[in-house]
Amino acid sequence: MAVIELKNVRKYYGALEVIKGVDIRVEDGEFAVFVGPSGCGKSTLLRMIAGLEGIDGGDFLLDGRRMNDIAPDKRGIAMVFQSYALYPHMSVAENIGFSLDLKKVPKATIRKEVEAIAEILQLTDYLDRRPAALSGGQRQRVAIGRAIIKKPAVILFDEPLSNLDASLRVQMRAELQRLHRDLKATVVYVTHDQVEAMTMADRIVVLKGGEVAQADAPIALYHRPDNAFVATFIGSPRMNLVPVTIARAADGKAEVTAARLGAIHIDDSAMPLPTGPAQLGVRPEHLRLAADADGDFDSEILVVERLGVETYLTIGSLDQPIMVRVEGDIAMRPGDRARFSIDRQSCHFFDMAGRALPRA
């Protein structure tokens, strides 16, 4: 059992408050991902859970037990560092077994446990090597081995894949998920990469400026962002935000007008949108190329990015670009004009402060 609860947790560096009263609950066995841009406090929060940073306000509870003043090694928590932080003068086996060696566990027992873990992590052939003689992926596995040999209730990962190349990252993502399934430990994983967050997490905590912007299941964050920040942070390419004016066209119908997109009618019979200035949020995949006669607006195409399986078109203007994601390879050129339609069901609206306007 390992339920993590952070209650109104705060952290100051001098007079600067970097964690501003955070409340997070991670259930037992859950894979939680803290995600956010640089400087949002996600790593600090992780280090506070680890015990490497003090907690200046609020409580950190593990299974209901207050952990604020418990030493890092007494919390039953292991951590995998961004730089792996392997001991360069020790072999792979010594690195993995170091925590047991410190506890004076008999050498034979350590050897047995290290071998069992090496087996799981496919490190058996490298046990006598020094970290310097390993590839990035192998070092990563040693760091994981060093964490799991302690049989921790909670494993913390601090951007563990950021030093790996793209293909290895995909492979390690799958390995980490498999490991999580096998170990059934509670995992808190920090990343700035929203793709990592979306693919691995049971629950994502989006952090912004030391506060929780939203915490929910990945797909819920995608479909129902609470605010413009989460809306633009989750999803790739990011959601387009367009300043619009909302007026009432008829009962249950709002007229949404944007400078370059013209006016569209949105069915808001379930929950009327407030009239006045607002922001329209529409994901690139919810804009479509339309036949000449149809569509909601036309625009010049500024940039074409052809990836084969899909094509990204940048339209609008350079100071207010709009990204459109079209399936398949579209042979268009910058300077062409085309008509586009907006999927009305997938439109998001935010007030000028960035708060989501409820749709239903």
Binding site: A78, A85, L102
Partner: protein, 297 residues
């Protein structure tokens, strides 16, 4: 061949030789030549006075044979050994390491501590010598005597009563900064995350020091040991200023013995033989460090 027609690699090779030339010339003139000349002198009865001064003779290995039965020579070797171990290997190293480890932490007055430790290196050797003479002089008005009087310890003539201990203390004082700078460089190569990982693994501060810090700075320690051992064997100035090697040979380092034999007893040939043996010892220590401990120099 005109310069311009040389291949790039050969041009670079020539440039490197050109850059090295001044150093090579200086080494040849002031290190290699004197060393070779010393070896030559050590095989003669060259002296500054008497018949040998007028017409020095080749005496073969007679100087070396004499050296082996010279109790004062063996005494100077022993004094040098104690001096090197006491001041360089133990004093400077231990205090330098302690300073480096302590000053790595965020301390409020860190720049001031740093400056204080570095000060002894800024003082000219002879000035330091005179300063310590006044500190360690006999009589109740001398600085050290007045300090220890606070603790009820009677005044002493420190350089007469504890001569070797005193020069070990003075040399430790001079060398802490060098040790600290080198060891700080070694320590700063260890990333903070390694210590954090060790904390997560349950290492106590003591275990972190013995299992992480020491093994990781071992190469720096060995390099420091090599440099400090060889340079301490060659120390002359301030010890000569303080004690002239006395009393009764108690602080007669091999460097002072060489000087005394060559320029006090005027036996240049014999002094050179001692110098050659000292050089051989330094070389031997260097080779042992480099080979056995795999020090990278």
């Amino acid at each position: 061949m005109p310069w311009i027609q040389l291949s790039y690699e050969r041009r670079v090779a020539w440039q490197l030789r050109l850059i090295l030339l001044p150093s090579v010339l200086l080494l040849l003139a002031f290190v290699i030549y004197p060393a070779v000349y010393s070896i030559y002198l050590s095989l003669t009865n060259e002296a500054l006075t008497g018949a040998a001064a007028l017409k020095p003779r080749f005496v073969g290995t007679r100087n070396y044979a004499r050296l082996f039965s010279d109790a004062k020579f063996w005494n100077s070797l022993l004094v040098t050994l104690i001096f090197v171990i006491g001041s360089a290997v133990i004093g400077q190293f231990v205090l330098g390491l302690v300073s480096a480890v302590l000053l790595r932490r965020p301390l409020r007055w860190k720049p001031i501590f740093n400056s204080i430790i570095l000060l002894p290196n800024a003082v000219p050797e002879v000035v330091a010598g005179f300063m310590w003479i006044s500190m360690l002089a006999g009589g109740e008005r001398a600085t050290l005597s007045r300090i220890v009087a606070f603790f009820g310890i009677p005044a002493a003539d420190w350089l007469q009563t504890f001569p070797l201990t005193m020069i070990i203390i003075v040399n430790t004082w001079r060398g802490i900064a060098t040790a600290m700078i080198l060891l700080t460089a070694g320590l700063s190569a260890i990333s903070e995350e390694i210590y954090e990982a060790a904390r997560m693994d349950g290492a106590t501060p003591r275990q972190m020091f013995t299992r992480i810090t020491l093994p990781l700075i071992a190469p720096t320690i060995f390099l420091y040991m090599l440099v400090s051992t060889v340079s301490t064997i060659a120390i002359f100035g301030f010890v000569y200023a303080l004690t002239r090697g006395g009393p009764g040979g108690a602080t007669e380092l091999i460097s002072i013995y060489i000087y005394n034999q060559s320029f006090t007893a005027f036996q240049l040939g014999y002094g050179s033989a001692v110098a050659v043996v000292a050089l051989a010892f330094s070389l031997l220590i260097g080779v042992v460090y480099v080979r056995a401990l795999k020090v990278e120099v």
